[in-house]
Every structure is written in structure tokens, then in C-alpha cells.
Amino acid sequence: MGFEFKSSGSASQLESFSYDDAIVRKFFWATLIWGIVAFLVGVILAVQLAFPQANFLPQVAFGRLRPLHTNAAIFAFAGNAIFTAVYYSTQRLCKARMWSDTLSKLHFWGWQLIIVSAALTLPLGITQGKEYAELEWPIDLAIAVVWLGFFGTNFLMTLIKRRERHMYVALWFYIASLVAVTILHVFNNLWIPVGVVQFLQTGEFGSPSTLLKSYPLYAGVQDAFMQWWYGHNAVAFFLTTPFLGLMYYFLPKAANRPVFSYKLSIIHFWSLVFIYIWAGPHHLHYTALPQWASTLGMVFSLMLWMPSWGGMINGLLTLRGAWHKVASDPVLKFFVVGVTFYGMSTFEGPLLSVKTVNALSHYTDWTIAHVHSGTLGWNSFMTFGMLYWLAPRLFQTGKIHSEKLISMHFWIGTVGILLYVISIYTAGITQGLMWRAFDESGQLSYPEFIETVTRLMPFYWIRAVGGTLFLLSACLGGYNLVMTWLARPKKYEVPVHEAPALSKVYDDGPPPQSRLTANAGIGHAGDRFLQGHWHRRWERLPVRFTVWVVIGVGTASLFEIIPTFLIKSNIPTISTVLPYTPLEVAGRDIYVAEGCYNCHSQMVRPIYAETQRYGEYSKPGEFVYDRPFQWGSRRIGPDLAREGVNNPNASWHYQHFENPQVFTTGSIMPSYKHLVEGDLDYGQIQSRIRALAMIGTPYGDAVKNAESMAREQAKIIADDIRAQMPGFVLPEDLEDKKVIALIAYIKRLGTDIYRTPEPADAAAEAAPAAAEEGGAH
């Protein structure tokens, strides 16, 4: 395909063109296939929580599989859905074919390659260890090239070359998504690749795992702040704004009537763009994040409720006078329930951002329920509504294979969502209340964390059933769409359209005159301004419009980021907090690779129930060497921030990693026997320490002697375990096992603040000394 021709008749000045629907069809199928994969992995995860024996291989254990699920759902399923919507609607709203068929194809295949890379690397434990940003640096670079280089260039050039003067509001939402995701992705993925550092210093790249490993430039509090600035806005600008663009285009099409209020959509757009970007810190309430940032995030989150509901109301009222169609039109059913879930999620989001509510909900399954009401209800149902609307048009069949099957998909999916979210809401609130419950003597009612886990088992099973129903409904949908496709003509017809090119000189009409009669000059100027002539110009100037979106997103970001990074009092340093030893770094990297942060937090909040359960609350200065930060967002297992203080027994950890159920009956933690049996690659440690030193960690002699220092500390820990476990058959080369490094890291957690400060004159040499101490921590 790929033709575009101009009519020779200059009298009409019409240009002929066709739309590239082949690329839309490609994204259509990718959406469906990756959607089913994402749902299937989600069901496996749900079963693993209720039935831990399902963690039968290290590569598919919960900690490694959960990032695969989230990445598949967000970037593979929702991502391809977004591109399906963008490629279909942009061409039609612009009355122009996509600017470059080659870029369209590069975008499609590049994006699928990224997804496949994610599917291969995440189960292998190759991860950055930051939620929704797990993919390692080479894939990050590929995302930047494909997203901005291929997709962004093609999209913006299509806007510039369009034949419709005005840019409809759906295009605004696409522009905002493109701009914001680019900014978020770049600034949250500033890292130093270990392999590249090694190559620069030794001329060798090292092993594949060294080559692919990176450490973030930010550490601790700043890393956490950037991550949740990214994480929250990934939801905003990947799962919300492009889907709103989808809603503003496809809902009017399906209902065959214009959007209820175009004016409201303008307010909706600018308010969302300007407010959303501030709200990230609400993910870090009561953590070591400075309180001012947390409060600012909460205030803007509450403000977010208004434009979000404005959008929801605008979507639902588009059906005014056509509600009778909803009963008979299955596509509209998906859209109506999708928009309703958008309203519910965007009400709940601000609610959860209120600090007192968040104190209960944070780290519980409540957050998981909130997320799934949004992704299953809003994203998935809007996507399936779109796919069903598109299928007869893209495949030129005139009708869908079976409307009955669509209805079955809708009802089974709806029941699945409800089973899922209701059970997990219940689990989350139960969990939160149990964590903070005290008995009449002032002691924790449930001092053993496992009590709060076993109580949730019935809900976990219901969730697994709900998720399975949702997966089943998607498979029904897939069958229906494939059957529709099978009825396609042998050759697709390609309609040829005609429209005049936009003239380079556009007469906006005379500038507005002041309607006032007896005012000073400033009054007349104000009245001319209020007539909105300036904004109407922006709305047909894509480059200028994009620049203003960048300013909107950038201003909000910088107001939070600059103080967080530059104000010293945000992160008071603690003199006894020292860099991790080389062996602890190796152990920490294993912790990250296994995805332990998916089940364990490392953040004791200054809440009485938490300090009673875990010990002293976490201080910002404790995390200055944490790259990446590992605060987590969920407690399927207990918090580990003070684990080195509460449980420093190496042999306990050794046995617990091998079989968690030995010490904790009912534990749902998988066995990490592969760490007990697998050998640690000591040769990699040196390059990792060099990379960390290069970005500011004061390592002293460890920069040269990391491997020998690590071996020395490992020997101490291994001997300790041998002494504590007489009569047990232990490997002769115990000190060479991966689990020893992980135990070294776990034993270090939360201990620094209890160490005796170095004498003042020795403080300057504290860092190198700490590295040399090896097993002294």
C-alpha cells in the first residue's frame, strides 16, 4: 500500500488520499494477543498467591512474574490498544494518511520487539527493580527510539501535514501522552550501565548479566520520588489520557452523536494535563519523603477528582437521548461500563491520596483492587469496545461474527471484574485493619504477620476465580474477532478520499474587538483576551500546542523535583550510614533480580502499629546509598527495613530461603532453593562497585579489592552458619553460594542507625573503612 496522490485539477485544489488501515489491523491483533497473555500471567500470579506450590520454577516465581504481568498489561496490551486508536483516529481526524508508512511499520515491529525483550529478560531476573520501569537500559533506549523517534515523529508530522484545520480534542490527548511519556521515561531512566563502565576501564564488556546491569543516578529518597513521579504519571499519561482520546473519538462514533460538551472536554484536557503531574508523591505518604512534597501530592490529587469526573460525565452524557441503544448495542455497553469504571477509579484515587485513608490502605491489597478496577474496567473495556467497533470496518465484513458472543464477553468479563475487585477490596481493608489492631493490653492483636496472610486466603481464591472469568471472556472475544476476520473479503477495498490541502496562509478573520464601551485600555485588552482568539490559534498549530503541553507538564514537574533535589534539609545525612560492602551489593542485586520488592517493603512508617511491629521508623538518611531504592508498594510479606536488627540470625535466613514453611506455617513465600544451590559470580562484583563509585558512592579501596573483600565477608557468614547448624549437611563451598550474599544484605538492613558513630577525626575515612570491614556489619 502506501500511496498518496494529488489530483491534477487545480480548480478544485482537492487532494486524493487513502488511510493506512493495514497498520491499524496489525496493532489490533497485537492488542488482542498481548491482552490474553497479560491476563493469563495475571491469573497465574493470582493462583501463586493462593497456592504457593505454583512457584515451581525460579523464572516464573511471583517476584519475577509480577513485573512481566504489569509490563504486559500496560505496555503490551494497553500500549497496542493506544496505537490502534491513534493510528485509526488520527488519520481520519486529520484527513491525512500517516506521514510515513515506513515509520509506522518500524514503530509496530519495534514495539513488539521491546515486548518480546521484556518477556525474555524479566523472568531471567534482568531488571532495574523499579515498578513499571523494570526494563533494563538497552530496552529503555529502544523504547525511547521507538516511542519518540518512530511513533512521535510520524504522529507529529501527520498533524503538521493534515488537511483538517482544527485539531479535535482527541488529538490533544494524544499529544499530551506523547510528550509526557517521553519526559517521564527519560528522566526516570537515567542510569549508569555497569558493562559500559567495565568496558571503559578494562576494555572488556564482561558477562551478559554485567553488560545488561545498570544502577540509577538517583539514590534513596530522590530515586523514590522520581520513580513515583514516573509511576503515577505512567498511569496518567499511558492509561488515562490516550484512553480519553480514544473515548472522545470512538464513543461519539459508536453513539452516532457528538460529544456532550466540547467545551467541557477543553477544561477536562488542560486541567488533567496540569494537575496530574503533581500527584505522584501521594504514593509515598508517611515514608521518608519530605512531608511538604507528600502534602502537595495529596492536594493536587484531590483537585484531580474534578476534571476526571468532568470527563466521565461528558462521556456518559454523550449518550443523552440514546440510552435505549445501550441495551441493544453491545459496543456501547463496553463503553458505558468502561467510562463508569473511570469515574469510580478517579473518585477512589483522590480518596486513597488522603493521608489518613492512605495510612490504612497503603501496602495492602486495597491498592491492587483500585488498580484493577481501572485497568480491567476502564482500559480493558474501552479497548474491547473499540475492537468490536473497529472489527467490521477494518475487516470490511459489515458486521461482527456474533453479537451474542459480545454480550457473553461483556457479562462474563463484568462478573469477573466484580469478583476480583470486591474480594481484593475486602482483603485489603481486612489486612490494613489487622496490621493496626491492638488488644486491651495495648499489644498488637496480630503480632505474627502470617496471621494477616492466612486470613486472606479465601479472598485470594475468589480473586483467582474472578481473574479466570475475565481471561475466559477475553478468549471468547478473541474467538469472535477471529471469526469476524475469517469472513473478510479476499482483497481489502481501500477507499480514496478527497480534501483540499491546508493553505499555508490562513485567515483567522479580524482579531476580536473589545465589546466594552467605557473602559481603560487594559479593560479592552482583557476583553479581547477573554474572547479566546489566542487559544483558537493554538488549537490549529500543533507545534505550538505541543510546546505549551511541554511547558504545562514541565512546570509542574520542576516545582516538585527541584526542591526535592536541592534542599539539603529534605534528606538529613546520618554519619553512621555507610555504603554497602561488595558482598552486600551482590546480595542486594540478587534481591532486586528476584523481585523481592514485589512482596516486601523496606519502609517503616512513623505509625505506632508499625514501630511496634517492625521497630524504629525509617529515616531519609538511611537510604542515601540505595540504588535503586527498594521501599516497595505492597506487603504480601512483612516489611524488611529493620530485618537486620530484628532477625540477624544467618542460619535462620539460610533455612528460610531454602524452605520458608519450615519456620512459618502457612507462609506463601516460594522456596529460593536455587539461591542455596547456585554459585555467586564473584568476578562480577568488582565492576559493579566501580560503577557505583563512579556515581558517587565513596568506596575507597573497595574500588580495587571488591572481590577479595566480598570473599572474606562470605567466609565469615558461611562459618557462622556452619557453627549455628551442627549436624546439618551443608555444601562444602557454602561461601560461594548466592544465598550467602543475599543473607549478607538482609543482615545489614536497618542496622546502620544503631552503630556507634565514628570519632570525628576518623569520620573522613569512614567509608573506605566500612568497605574494608567486610563482615563486620
Binding site: 477544561i267 503533581w278 477507499p495 480514496v496 479566546g532
Partner: protein, 63 residues
């Protein structure tokens, strides 16, 4: 004197207040644009998604 020193001596609350003021200004501007937009123009723009297939002239068959 480094930038971090200057920033550290600033009152933190000012940043949040400036942020809110900026938002309010932007919001007022957007509302003003919306309130004073000509109805006929808004009606035409709102119906753009419904008009985008209306100008089909002919069909060609391709692979």
C-alpha cells in the same frame, strides 16, 4: 555559595503556594477560553469525528 545552599534557605511552603497560584491562573484562562468560544465553531468541531468518512469518492482494490 552553591545552589543547594540558596534553595535550602528558601521557605518550602512558598513552592506549594506558587504552584497553586499557577494552576489557578491556567484554570481561569482555560475557563475563559471555553466560556467565550463561539457556539457555531464549537458545534462544528464537536462533530468532526462524525464527519470523517463522509467524503469517500471511490474505491480501489489492492492487496
Amino acid at each position: 555559595m552553591r545552589l543547594t545552599d540558596i534553595m535550602s534557605h528558601m521557605a518550602l511552603s512558598v513552592w506549594a503556594e506558587i504552584a497553586l497560584v499557577i494552576f489557578q491562573i491556567v484554570f481561569v484562562l482555560v475557563v475563559a477560553r471555553v466560556l467565550f468560544a463561539p457556539k457555531s465553531e464549537v458545534r462544528r468541531i464537536a462533530s468532526l469525528p462524525l464527519d470523517d468518512e463522509s467524503d469517500v469518492k471511490l474505491f480501489e482494490e489492492v492487496e
